[in-house]
Homo-oligomer: 106 residues x 2
């Protein structure tokens, strides 16, 4: 899904991941965290794709919303399990979306 | 591939795409554009994944580098063909990367 209704400025969290061999339980947890994220104040949307690496970009109203989601207890527990079991490597970037352009074939 | 050596602040272009039925020539052109992007001044790296949607995040030193790449003639021609043939829909976001965290299992 492509988020096409957001108006800059807002924030993006770019989360790029490489999974380990052990992915038991990963997809269930990822879905659970997606559902939980959607319920947070300031959540605006998400885009996600996976090939060799996975890229999930979540969109947020402001930095406070991102910090609150980072400190959410269930999310913190999931992240701890992720670092222990599922992730071989990841990079997380917090970005301010300054401009945006869209195209859709009519 | 995960880019793990960049130091904020720098810029990210998040390009989320949905392809049309007509993808003849798309992957060749995407690879050609990746190669060309790497040669531009201010290019820092790229991360890419595709499932239902494709997400390509390219990283740049500053806004000027992004504008120059946008105006590159070969890139402009490829974009025109893309809008005509390959893309059903896309969203492009220009973002300032403010903070970054990495994890790697040892």
């Amino acid at each position: 899904m492509i988020e096409d209704t957001l108006k800059p400025p807002y924030y993006a969290v770019i989360f790029t991941t490489q999974l380990s061999e052990t992915i038991e339980g990963y997809y269930e947890m990822a879905e659970k965290m997606d559902e939980l994220a959607k319920k947070q104040d300031g959540y605006l949307g998400v885009e996600s794709a996976r090939s060799d690496v996975g890229i999930t970009v979540s969109y947020w109203k402001n930095l406070e919303a991102i910090t609150n989601w980072k400190n959410n207890i269930e999310h913190t527990e999931a992240r701890d399990i992720g670092r222990d079991k599922w992730y071989k490597k990841y990079q997380l970037r917090i970005c301010k979306v300054e401009r945006e352009y869209g195209f859709e074939k009519k």
